[in-house]
């Protein structure tokens, strides 16, 4: 049982390598086994933390500061659990999705490749230069998908479990490389441009973070998060380091105005990849920032800096939502929605920060609320991107204004889209409501009324773009110039399952919230909340 945290990293890694070694179409079997096992192990880890508290493992038996430790507290378990569940859903969806893309003897290759770039017409194996030049090698996006997706999953778990700021850097880099490789899976020009932009931006972010790591080490002489939290970090070098790390991570988490790379990257990837990027990868950088902010640099944050980050979050909500409303393509709309939702996450910083009474319980409330919002966004956004993928596969396009009347053909898809939208809006009963409720409470309690306004207005703006899609789909007149392609049932089921999760987590929030408390910062404040 005590090794479960190791296996949750190793299994996807091993399965990824195996899938790479096997190659071809059978790689998906290994990928699926890996996804199932990782899901189970993630569940076991959550259970372990739930029952026996914080899990710590010293790699190779060496103690810190010399050795490197892995650690899972409630927050890590919470996010690993989310990744496990969302990851399993995405994997099951991806099996069918890439099967439809794989040019096989029984299938028509020209009808196969439908990508998120809105250029569904000019697709097919011809997009791949190798295939053009060699003529013998057939490019199978599905075969490359599984190793990379397993690598991405493993690096997410590395990120959530590492307790060492340099190890975290390695995890971040692995995550970036896997993400970019997945974005360009279909070798389309738009995806390559988006992928290159993403790579450059994320690489820059990593460098800023790494410089921060170096400076912190110069100051404190340790890398372990726990030791750093105990150390008195007050020097100028540490402050500069904190700033560099924060900027680097904000770039990776795509907080406005550092979000420029996100919409193209998230929307031009294949649907299962878009879902993973928006639902999970962005949370990776966010998680790390939250860890450092509230556990390592706790004393360093000043009210003005916190308010400024919250302010950027507020601008992200407004700008992202308005951009989403303006988009004509569904996947871009959903990607801009991610920009806005990331803004919500960062409202947590001023709310849980040093504004007002440092011993007040609202800080802990905001912290849990923000993380619960991250959880709900994970499920809801994955469901939305996968839903867009179904529409794209079936209709060959994702232009919002040509979805008229498609609700009667894809009732479950739009039902799921609506449920996911509810969660993003923060309407009860949904997980998004729980997050919003806690953050709103915190804002009212601490008297930071400006965040109350932003949180509420943001919900209405979200309703704006969700309603655009739904009202198009519910139209009576059907847009007839596209004959829908049959879509495997499993894909639809997964879209619905993820949306349903975002609903169920709103009906029974007590246990996940309790999980978050294990080993959380603000230990002194929790007793106040319990009363």
């Amino acid at each position: 049982m005590s090794l479960v945290g190791i296996w949750v990293i190793l299994i996807p890694l091993i399965c990824g390598l195996a899938a790479f070694a096997v190659g071809g179409r059978s790689s998906r079997v290994i990928g699926l086994i890996g996804a199932g096992l990782t899901f189970l192990l993630s569940g076991l880890l959550v259970l372990h933390v739930w029952q026996s508290g914080v899990w710590i493992y010293q790699l190779g038996g060496w103690d810190v500061p010399l050795g490197i430790s892995l650690r899972a507290d409630g927050l890590s378990a919470f996010l690993i659990g989310m990744t496990g569940a969302v990851g399993l859903g995405i994997s099951l969806y991806a099996v069918r999705y890439f099967e439809a893309l794989t040019p096989g003897p029984s299938q028509d290759p020209s009808a196969a490749l439908r990508t998120g770039s809105g250029r569904g017409e000019e697709s097919g194996a011809g997009d791949s230069p190798e295939a053009e030049r060699g003529g013998t090698e057939v490019w199978l996006p599905g075969a490359s998908y599984w190793p990379l997706w397993m690598l991405l999953w493993a690096s997410l778990n590395v990120l959530f479990l590492s307790n060492d700021i340099f190890n975290l850097y390695v995890g971040l880099e692995l995550l970036t490389l896997a993400s970019v490789a997945l974005i360009i899976l279909q070798r389309e020009q738009a995806a390559i441009v988006a992928g290159l932009r993403y790579l450059l931006a994320a690489f820059l972010g990593s460098m800023a973070y790494l410089l921060g790591v170096a400076l912190i080490y110069a100051d404190a002489g340790v890398l372990d998060l726990g030791l750093l939290a105990d150390a008195e970090l007050t020097g100028t070098a540490t402050q500069v380091a904190g700033g560099l790390m924060a900027v680097g991570l904000l770039l990776k988490a795509a907080l406005f105005p550092l979000h420029f790379w996100l919409p193209a990257a998230h929307s031009s990837a294949p649907a299962p990849v878009s879902a993973a990027l928006s639902a999970l990868v962005v949370k990776g950088a966010f998680y790390l920032l939250i860890r450092l902010w509230f556990e390592v640099f706790e004393s360093a944050g000043t009210v003005s800096v916190e308010q400024m980050i919250g302010g950027l979050g507020a601008v992200a909500i407004v700008v992202g939502s308005f951009q989403a409303i303006r988009q004509e393509r569904l996947k871009l709309m959903i990607a801009y929605s991610t920009v806005a939702q990331v803004g919500y996450l960062f409202i947590m910083i001023p709310l849980a920060g040093s504004f007002g009474d440092p011993e007040a319980s609202w800080r802990f409330e905001a912290w849990t609320g923000g993380l619960y919002h991250a959880l709900s966004h994970g499920f809801a956004k994955a469901s939305m991107f996968l839903a867009a993928g179904v529409l794209l596969s079936a209709l060959g396009h994702d232009r919002v204004w040509h979805l008229a009347g498609s609700a009667s053909r894809f009732p479950v898809i739009y039902l799921s889209f609506g449920i996911a939208g509810m969660s993003l809006m923060g309407l009860p009963p949904s997980a998004g409501f729980v997050g919003k409720w806690l953050m709103l409470r915190s804002a009212v309690e601490s008297g930071q009324w400006w965040w109350v306004v932003i949180l509420l207005v943001g919900g209405l703006l979200t309703a704006g773009y969700v309603a655009i899609v739904l009202s198009q789909a519910l139209q009576h007149d059907v847009d007839e110039h596209t004959e829908p392609h049959p879509v495997p049932k499993l894909m639809t089921v997964m879209v619905f399952a993820l949306a349903a999760m975002s609903l169920l987590l709103g009906l029974r929030a007590a246990e996940p919230l309790e999980l978050l408390e294990i080993g959380a910062p603000f230990q002194t404040l929790m007793s106040v909340v319990e009363d």
Binding site: P411, R441, V444, L460, L474, H476, L513, V529
Partner: protein, 502 residues
């Protein structure tokens, strides 16, 4: 087995589960869907009967608490006040289901319609049984969402535009309500519904805040209760199919708003505290203005459903008005009108739907002489209309009588003027329809169309039956008002529980 714990939950699930199963069906699976619908609503009806017996005869309270957040539970409770809305929705859901099956059975997207229809009832039952503020909020917002697909069901540009207006208003109202609830909870901790309210202790330190919060809560609820100036979505939403209009107006949406106002005034703030904060007079004034305004606008509408919609705007505010008056009779009038307005208005909407289906009549000017070929429908319509006007011994008379008594009791005689003016205008916009319907000259061409379409006397029984049933109920509710299990008796129990000890 602890029935007090399980009954409220089964009550919810009796419509939630059919809804979820219906979503999985295909449009053609008529019998399965119909038996699910009827089965669910029959179960709900029986459960409502059992709980009514328990509450009224044995004085029991059914309560279920489920963990939700840290120190926050979801509470479902059935006591006399919740029983009123529970009973109303159970009975009317059953009748409306029959009507809807007859009305929609050949139109597209039936699965979607009946699925959301059942969800809508689930949300309403949840609102009725909510035992604390957050449970109420959750079901209230759920209702906003699940009625949207029903409003836009026809998918025409007009329906979509109405849907947008509807969403804008209800989500905006939801935001105000959410803010009010959170603010109140921050001040007072978890707020549960208790007769007489339980937040008096805040009045010394937070007087202004309490007033602002009251305003937020009432504004949020006033959107659904269609209090002017928040009423505009309601006439727009008339574009929806007739069963939806009936449900929106009589049971679900407007009642949710009005019921919420009753809850906030009586069970969150309590009459005493509300009086102390001087918030009741503004509420009474808004309600009075809405009563007059709705009636005036109804006079100017010639589309039958729109006239009925403005009539609803006017009539629902009787509830808010009665709530804002202090005195047992006013409380009785307000709460009994929750039920009476529901059964009367649903009768009228059923009839409007029958006219539209059987004769393609949408405008009241086309109704001339329709009573000769459709005497049953017209009779039901007449009963509903007379009830609305307040003709004794119909249900509407009982409501107005108690409201009038209440206004004298609470030293607000000006309210009588409002009631009389409103009744005069009710008569002015209903009587001409009734008169022309019975005694006007019929349009002949309509007769021919009708004879070809239906082999029956005037309309399919699945449409006519529900209209007659609700008309009968509204007659009985007035005639048997003194019976121990009548809505009036229930309202008296509710009022007794909430009396201020002088």
């Amino acid at each position: 087995m602890d029935w007090g714990f399980w009954l409220p939950q089964i009550m919810l699930f009796s419509s939630l589960i059919p809804a979820l199963v219906i979503f999985l069906l295909r449009d053609e699976q008529f019998w399965l869907r119909t038996s699910l619908n009827l089965g669910g609503s029959a179960v709900k009806l029986v459960l409502a009967g059992i709980m009514a017996w328990g509450v009224l005869a044995e004085g029991r309270t059914y309560e279920a608490s489920l963990p939700f957040l840290h120190n926050q539970e979801l509470v479902l409770r059935v006591e006399p006040l919740s029983l009123m809305l529970v009973g109303l929705s159970s009975v009317l859901w059953f009748i409306t289901t029959i009507y809807a099956i007859g009305y929609l059975e050949n139109s597209p997207n039936r699965t979607r319609f009946f699925g959301f229809f059942s969800l809508c009832v689930t949300a309403t039952i949840g609102i009725a049984m909510a035992g604390n503020l957050i449970t109420f909020l959750i079901f209230y917002e759920m209702l906003s969402v699940v009625t949207y697909p029903l409003v836009v069901h026809r998918g025409t540009p007009a329906a979509l535009a109405a849907g947008r207006t509807y969403l804008l208003y209800t989500l905006g109202g939801g935001v105000l309500l959410l803010l009010g609830v959170i603010w109140l909870q921050v001040l007072a901790g978890p707020v549960s519904f208790e007769s007489g309210g339980a937040i008096d202790f805040l009045v010394d330190d937070h007087r202004t805040e309490l007033i602002v919060i009251f305003g937020l809560l009432i504004a949020g609820l006033g959107v659904k209760a269609a209090i002017v100036p928040l009423h505009r979505w309601l006439p727009e939403a008339m574009i929806a199919p007739a069963p939806v209009s009936a449900l929106l107006h009589a049971v679900a949406v407007v009642k949710a708003g009005a019921y919420g106002i009753v809850r906030v005034v009586y069970d969150v703030y309590g009459l005493e505290l509300s009086d102390q904060l001087n918030v009741l007079l503004p509420l009474a004034l808004f309600a009075s203005f809405t009563i007059i305004y709705g009636s005036v606008r109804a006079l100017g509408e010639f589309d039958l459903k729109r006239r009925l919609a403005y009539s609803t705007v006017s009539q629902v505010s009787y509830i808010a008005l009665g709530t804002a008056l202090i005195g047992p009779a006013a409380t009785v009038g307000a709460t009994v009108h929750l039920i009476h307005q529901g059964i009367m208005k649903i009768t009228l909407f059923f009839c409007a739907g029958v006219f539209a289906e059987a004769r393609n009549i949408h405008d009241i000017r086309e109704m001339s002489g329709v009573g000769r070929s459709m005497p049953l429908t017209m009779s039901a319509f007449t009963l509903g209309a007379f009830g609305m006007i307040g003709v004794p011994p119909l249900a509407g008379f009982v409501s107005k009588w108690y409201l009038g008594l209440g206004s004298l009791e609470s030293n607000a005689p000006w309210v009588i003027v409002i009631l009389v003016a409103s009744s005069v205008m009710n008569a002015a916009y209903f009587l001409p329809i009734v008169y022309k319907g019975w005694f006007g000259e019929p349009h002949e061409e309509i007769e021919v169309v009708e004879a070809e379409r239906f082999q029956v006397a005037e309309a399919p029984w699945s449409l006519l039956g529900p209209a007659l049933a609700t008309a009968g109920i509204s007659l009985l509710a007035g005639l048997l008002a003194a019976w121990a299990y009548s809505p009036l008796s229930l309202a008296e129990i509710v009022a007794n529980q909430r009396m201020i000890s002088p």
